[in-house]
């Protein structure tokens, strides 16, 4: 059992929990994730480790309530416990002195870009961050990211905060103007794909973080497989970060839809009435 030591409501659907997990906190590096399960009948779901405190032995998750498990996770309060938690999983981000790095985070993906931007900044890179959300209320970690960035751009789709539009609108201008050595993008599949397509003609190295469906998260089930440079890779052990120019995005999009209808069933409160809809 893993105790939640702090909870913060970041928006109506985005929550932050800080969890006591000393063994994970001691080892975790930017870019890694953990798998958790909140009840005996629960799913195992992967969540990016958005922050960690090695001294206190805690790790932080920031998640959007999009499905049954995340909604129930969001109901837990400080002092409550998570049943199972394993990590750190996946390969860490490659952190070295690249030069100028653009860190792009969209929606809940901003939580994933934060530890990476921080680690890259600590390594001496010049960090230009672009973070975006649907609306002002959904924008997270702006202050934290500003602290580790040399320049921060904010976009909202409704224009309530920062520039109206998408993160890629800002990225376009930056690519045209400045010498960029690396782009790191975390967020929705469509955003990461758009970023990769944008940087491809300019030949700017681009890293994306693939958040696939997983069961064990340790390289055994292969549910998270993606095609990278015509080769099968497992997001859980080979990734989650891959070269955005080599990822087959069609496959990522298709596979992200595998269980959408099942999730809907659970959300609508189906209790398994023997209707054979499992088929």
């Amino acid at each position: 059992m893993f105790k939640i030591v702090r909870k913060q409501v970041l928006s109506q659907t985005i929550k932050l929990i800080e969890v006591s997990a000393p063994e994970i906190a001691a080892k975790v590096q930017a870019g890694q994730f953990a798998i958790l399960r909140i009840s005996e009948n629960g799913e195992r779901i992967p969540l990016t480790i958005a922050d960690f405190n090695r001294e206190d032995g805690t790790i932080t998750f920031i998640f959007q309530e999009v499905g049954h498990t995340t909604i129930n996770l969001g109901k837990l309060e400080s002092g409550d416990h998570i049943l199972d938690l394993v990590g750190p999983l996946g390969m860490p981000s490659q952190i070295s002195d690249f030069g100028t790095v653009v860190c792009v985070g969209g929606g809940i993906g901003v939580a994933s870009i934060y530890p990476i931007a921080r680690a890259l900044a600590n390594k001496g890179n010049r960090i230009i961050s672009i973070i975006g959300a649907r609306s002002k209320d959904d924008l997270i970690l702006a202050d934290e990211i500003e602290k580790v960035s040399d320049k921060l751009y904010i976009t909202t789709e409704d224009g309530a905060l920062g520039q109206k539009g998408l993160v890629t609108d800002v990225l376009k201008g930056i690519i045209d103007e400045a010498q960029i050595d690396l782009v790191v993008a975390t967020g929705p599949v469509a955003m990461m794909k758009a970023v990769s397509e944008m940087t491809r003609p300019a030949n700017i190295r681009t890293t994306v973080s693939i958040n696939s469906t997983m069961v064990d998260g340790t390289g055994m089930c292969g549910a998270c497989r993606v095609e990278v440079n015509k080769e099968a890779k497992f997001a859980c052990v080979d990734g989650p970060e891959f070269d955005g120019h080599l990822v087959d995005w069609d496959i990522v999009e298709i596979r992200s839809r595998t269980f959408i209808d099942k999730e809907k069933m659970v959300m609508e409160g189906c209790t398994g009435g023997g209707c054979s809809c499992q088929r």
Partner: protein, 474 residues
């Protein structure tokens, strides 16, 4: 129940069948297929044992159970002593009584089998293990602590056996398990209808009574490395991480929705209990037509799970003939009884998807058998122009599993072979790294529970000698 109890004859008693759930019933549930012997059947079967002076069956058992000994105790109706006798050598009797390939081990050596049918040793073992589960006592003897600490990586059959043996010798053993429950392949792979999880848990509970600590959610290679363990006070480490890496065929269409590795399919069904969705929240999708590629026990487990999940048509697609199938005969027969169709000498070359990225069919090629290959089995040769399209919604790849790479990758001085299996001395399980031992599927590649247990027994003895000799790693 389908079995008629046969009356004992004066001289000769036939091998007793085990009552099973009828096929049309069992395809609708995940309950165990075989019910196990009644006391009456067990006594009849036990009466068949010749009590050989030099029992060949014991030679066939990788953990050397005193087989005539425990069968004699069954005949005397002393079931507690019978299970104690088995437990002298085997800490997982209820598991082995169910999933051991006895036909090629103990029963394969039985003298009766030369002329007639061998004694049903596995069924008798299961009978006393189940008796213990219901009525028995499991007593733990006090041991003098040795002051030594051993870490066991992985809680599958080899790891559990190493832990039990070393705990009895007074060593403090901690098992590190990456998943949220212990048992390894016995919980994530082998289905409930063949090996009930309550039986696995019972055996693990007994091992914990010996003082063995099991730490779940602890993935060695990530949470900690083998070197971290050695540097944090463990005197020795045993690696039993198994063969969990799923193989795919590398044919077009394998990324489509509806294609699973057998590992994923079975993990969803067994470990995560997706057959109870939505009360259990992990989903599984089965489709009306399922094709399982492969001919081993994992393929049979997958296809029979698919049948129970309600698919209308289930196929085994295997590129050789039935004779070459690695699955146990019993599993093949059970699958056939449950309506599984066998498309032999057939293999897919492409999976076709619909406009939304879901599997809709598979292009297969037919084969004929040619000359024997290096495995001694006749090599399948493709027949020109034999392509045909098979309509399917779900494709499950059961092509075998490779070594789990995580521990070798994070333990630089651990020697592995070209397949990623850890290289050890057969008798001791000693790896290239001092103080570090290994056994089970991570050494041999995917094999049986009992072979992994045999390796665990040998390694436990070697680790005990290592710890007792005062050897220092450094």
């Amino acid at each position: 129940m389908s079995t008629v109890i046969e009356k004992p004859k004066k001289e000769k008693v036939d091998r007793q069948l085990m009552p099973v759930q009828e096929p049309h019933e069992r395809v609708k549930n995940f309950d165990e297929v075989a019910f196990g012997y009644t006391e009456e059947l067990a006594l009849l079967e036990a009466s068949r044992c010749l009590q050989c002076k030099k029992p060949l069956c014991v030679d066939g058992c990788p953990v050397h159970i005193d087989i005539p000994g425990f069968i004699k105790l069954i005949s005397e109706k002393d079931y507690q002593k019978a299970i104690d006798k088995i437990r002298e050598k085997n800490d997982l009797p209820g598991i082995c009584g169910r999933v051991c390939p006895q036909e090629s081990k103990c029963e394969g050596n039985c003298l009766l089998g030369k002329k007639n049918e061998p004694v049903a040793i596995g069924r008798l073992q299961r009978f006393v293990a189940d008796w213990e589960f219901q009525y028995g006592e499991y007593e733990v003897e006090d041991v003098t602590p040795s002051g030594k600490k051993v870490a066991v990586v992985g809680s599958g059959p080899s790891g559990l056996v190493v832990a039990a043996d070393l705990a009895r010798l007074g060593h403090k053993v901690s098992i590190m398990e990456g998943l949220h429950v212990p048992g390894g392949v016995m919980v994530y792979g082998i289905p409930e209808f063949r090996l009930p999880k309550a039986i696995v848990q019972h055996e693990i509970d007994n091992i914990q009574k010996l003082g063995v600590e099991i730490k779940c959610n602890t993935l060695i290679g990530k949470s900690n490395t083998v070197d971290d363990l050695l540097n944090s006070g463990y005197d020795s480490v045993f690696i039993g991480t198994g063969a969990g890496y799923p193989y795919f065929m590398d044919i077009p269409g394998e990324f489509l929705n509806g294609v699973y590795s057998a590992n994923e399919f079975l993990m969803r069904a067994n470990l995560m209990k997706a057959y109870l969705f939505p009360e259990h929240l992990t989903p599984i999708r089965i489709g009306k037509k399922v094709a399982v590629i492969g001919g081993g026990n994992v393929a049979m487990d997958s296809v029979r799970t698919a049948v129970r999940l309600g698919t209308e048509e289930a196929h085994i697609i295997y590129r050789r003939s039935e004779k070459e199938m690695p699955a146990r005969l019993e599993e093949i027969e059970h699958a056939r009884e449950e309506g599984v169709q066998f498309k032999l000498l057939t293999s897919p070359i492409e999976i076709i998807g619909d406009e939304n990225g879901w599997v809709k069919s598979m292009i297969c090629l037919q084969y004929e058998l040619g000359e024997p290959d290096e495995s001694g089995r006749r090599r399948p040769v493709p027949i020109k122009g034999s392509e045909f399209e098979l309509e399917v919604d779900t494709v499950i790849m059961a092509l075998g599993q490779g070594a789990n790479p995580m521990v070798p990758q994070t333990t630089p001085d651990l020697e592995v072979d070209k397949d990623g299996n850890i290289i050890v001395d057969y008798e001791t399980g000693q790896t290239s790294k001092p103080g570090v031992f290994a056994g089970g599927d991570i050494v041999t590649g995917a094999d049986t529970v009992i072979e992994a247990m045999g390796a665990g027994k040998r390694a436990a003895q070697a680790i005990h000698e290592y710890l007792s000799s005062g050897n220092k790693r450094h």
